[in-house]
């Protein structure tokens, strides 16, 4: 595989409600920012563009079509779209670079989750005969998963609170974070239950926003003269949708992806994990084989702000930027989709 360089990454603030900013208005500023970082003028300077979004977030079909309006795609561009988190758009672009058909790519993910009732909206991604008609909200899956973990003695409520406390603390240094502050484990445990055994702070907030990234071959990055981090491996796996056939205390698909990209082949200095619920960070750490030497979710992670359809790409961008800044030599980024971590993507990155 060719090494692929991440040369630019930008994310908007995670806003609880972006109000009158439409998708184009959310996307444009992050595009301008990555163009600046990469030292390019516009979309015409990259070979391929790919985005991730979901029509149901805002309740309008063809969300990605209006996304194209933000690009300046005249003359026409080579462009594609996944109805998934933009981390999978990165995957598509990464393959494109592997084929030799592109040397560089622009990626972006965006969404406004605030207009709908997100946990209910996501119920409609479940089996359309057995589950969607019951309107099983997305929090329920995570809550039942957390209870299994607790009752099997794999985690404690204090472990979950520790994840949240660390997220809030780390988010203090992240200007884009939505939820931040100093909270003790005791303080958090004193909060009431939401969907038990989850407290509200165990669940990621609903956020509006966008992120963008520019990737290219290492040769191109050198030509552009920009600092970069390198994608050494990227893999993603999905598992059965039959919830009763899954061991919810593990993330088998993350384990498979981690194995495929060789997460365990070296020390991991930093990791950003897309864990929308506190206990899932613990599941994911284990699935990835990370130990306490790894700094996990230094950005605060998605518990501090969750840009649905952009958060996965954001995790990869966060790790890349930290590697570029010299915060570590080797990092891991993870993205997820579906109920209770049904689908997972794992990336191994290295500093230049």
């Amino acid at each position: 595989m060719r090494d692929v360089a991440i040369v630019a990454y930008a994310q908007s603030d995670c806003q609880g409600n972006a109000g009158a900013q439409n998708e184009v208005e959310l996307i444009m500023p992050v595009l301008q920012e990555v163009y600046k970082q990469a030292g390019i003028t516009n979309v015409q300077d990259v070979d391929f563009t790919c985005s991730g979004s979901c029509d149901y977030q805002q309740g309008a079909a063809f969300a990605f079509v209006s996304g194209v309006d933000a690009l300046g795609a005249v003359p026409p561009i080579k462009e594609s779209h996944v109805e998934m988190d933009a981390a999978w758009a990165l995957y598509e672009a990464w393959l494109k670079i592997q084929t030799g058909q592109a040397e560089s790519a622009l990626l972006y993910g965006f969404g406004k989750s605030s207009p709908g009732e997100l946990p209910i909206v996501l119920s409609q991604q479940l089996d359309p005969y057995y589950l969607a008609p019951l309107w099983v909200d997305s929090i329920a899956f995570a809550a039942m998963q957390a209870r299994m973990m607790l009752e099997k003695g794999l985690i404690t409520e204090a472990d979950m609170a520790e994840v949240v406390a660390r997220s809030r603390r780390n988010a203090l240094a992240n200007p884009h974070a939505q939820l931040k502050g100093e909270f003790s484990v005791e303080q958090l445990l004193a909060e009431p239950m939401y969907e038990s055994p989850l407290r509200k702070h165990d669940c990621c907030p609903v956020s509006d926003g966008a992120c963008a990234m520019v990737i290219c071959t290492v040769e191109k990055a050198k030509e552009w003269g920009k600092p970069y981090a390198v994608i050494k491996g990227i893999d993603h796996r999905i598992e059965t949708h039959h919830i009763g056939s899954r061991d919810l205390t593990r993330s088998v698909s993350t384990e498979l992806a981690a194995e495929a990209v060789g997460v365990g082949n070296g020390p991991v200095d930093i990791a950003e994990l897309y864990a929308p619920f506190s206990h899932q960070e613990i599941i994911l750490k284990k699935a990835l084989g990370l130990n306490n030497d790894t700094v996990v979710n230094a950005s605060g992670g998605v518990l501090a702000g969750n840009l649905m359809m952009a958060s996965g790409l954001s995790r990869i961008g966060e790790v890349a930027m930290r590697l570029i800044k010299g915060e570590g030599k080797r990092g891991v980024a993870h993205a997820t989709s579906g109920p209770a971590l049904q689908q997972n993507l794992v990336t191994v990155l290295e500093a230049q």
């Binding site: 084929t99 089996d127 088998v252 498979l256």
Partner: protein
């Protein structure tokens, strides 16, 4: 550089207004299983699945790849979901090809589908979102004015569209999977069918279908071991432009012109009418055949209708460049799959597996799809020769 990749298996469902006998999973599975059978493979042989479909609102299942994981034997494997509007079936095939061309995967399954009968494709999307453009007259309301402008510019005779409507239905009558089976259709019948969006008549528009299409794509080594003739992927291209901008050429969109040039260059095609043996082109409204004949370089600008009227694109008239021998979108239209059907039918032609609508001796074929406001394009050229 890109590895060689080839289509070694194609599977489709029968296309119908409503497939009452299957669930969504059952529909998708049927095409996928047919593709595996055609390739002489089993589920465990597949490394990854790439799924495409048009808006989730058609079936009301968000990100249906999650629910379809088990039907597609994907538990523990990579699954990707593409959505590029009407061109999605083609784009999905191209993304699937890149899985193999990259050298990362050896053998992948790609599937696309639409079960339009679960909703009403034309109006399910015209939801009352506030503050949005108020007027919705269906897809025809959008495309008919563009067709009118084509007719004005080209001075095409009024019945060029009627000719296409008849020709594609006669082609469809040779294809047992085609939704519309109208072997007796006549020019008069089309002309007498109700006007919907002038100048488009009922029989000049595509039907609404349930259906799915699937392909198995492998690398060079595995393709050479496959039971049938592989369809070697000689070129792939995609282009996008915004729906609306000042000065946009809507009759002959630049994105289509650029996309065609790109794919021809990769496949070594200099004269598409001469170098290609047939084409499966996304023609949902009759008039788009002459329009795309020009856009894709088969005819000079303003002359596409002459090719159509001459019978050059008709199998039944022994035309030199048959377009849509399968019957095309005018005969079957499960929207999310319609693009992939074009790509798969092109492959079947060069594999010699097109049955009753086989173009004699077809070696090289074009698959084409477009979507949105005629702004998203995907195309591939496949050949029985590696090149």
């Amino acid at each position: 550089m890109a590895q060689l990749a080839a289509v070694v298996g194609v599977g489709q469902t029968k296309y119908k207004t409503k497939r009452k006998d299957v669930s969504i999973a059952g529909l998708v599975r049927e095409a996928a299983q047919n593709a595996l059978d055609n390739a002489g493979l089993t589920w465990k042989d597949i490394d990854a699945v790439i799924l495409g479909k048009a808006p989730d609102m058609f079936e009301g299942v968000i990100m249906p790849e999650l629910y379809l994981t088990d039907a597609l034997g994907c538990n523990g494997k990579p699954m990707l979901r593409v959505h590029t509007a009407g061109s999605v079936g083609g784009s999905t095939a191209i993304v699937a090809a890149s899985y193999v061309q990259s050298g990362v995967f050896q053998r992948v399954l790609t599937v696309s589908f639409e079960k339009q009968s679960e909703s009403n494709a034309m109006w399910a999307l015209s939801n009352p979102q506030p503050f949005s453009p108020h007027l919705n007259a269906g897809a025809g309301g959008y495309f008919a004015p563009i067709i009118r402008e084509y007719v004005r510019r080209s001075n095409a005779p009024y019945d060029a569209g009627i000719k296409v409507a008849v020709k594609d239905r006669l082609h469809g009558a040779r294809n047992p999977l085609a939704h519309l089976q109208l072997p007796e259709i006549t020019m008069k019948e089309v002309e007498d069918s109700p006007m919907l969006w002038e100048p488009l008549r009922f029989l000049e528009a595509c039907p609404s279908s349930d259906g799915a299409c699937a392909m198995v794509i492998t690398n060079e080594e595995l393709a050479s071991q496959s039971p049938g003739t592989p369809a070697w992927i000689r070129g792939t291209a995609m282009r996008s432009e915004p729906t609306m901008y000042a000065g946009r050429e809507q009759v002959n969109p630049q994105a289509g012109i650029d996309c065609a040039k790109d794919v021809y260059k990769q496949a070594g095609i200099t004269d598409p009418r001469k170098d290609l043996d047939c084409a499966e082109v996304y023609v949902p409204f009759s008039w788009y055949e002459p329009m795309w004949l020009e856009n894709l370089g088969f005819a000079d600008v303003g002359k596409g209708w002459e090719l159509t009227m001459s019978g050059a694109t008709s199998l039944d008239e022994n035309g030199d460049i048959p377009w849509n021998p399968s019957g095309g979108v005018l005969s079957s239209n499960p929207i999310g799959a319609s693009g992939m059907i074009r790509f798969a039918e092109a492959a079947q032609q060069v594999r010699g597996q097109a049955g009753g609508h086989q173009v004699d001796g077809a070696k090289t074929a074009l698959g084409h799809a477009y979507g949105g406001g005629a702004q998203f394009y995907s195309m591939w050229v496949v050949s029985s020769e590696k090149g």
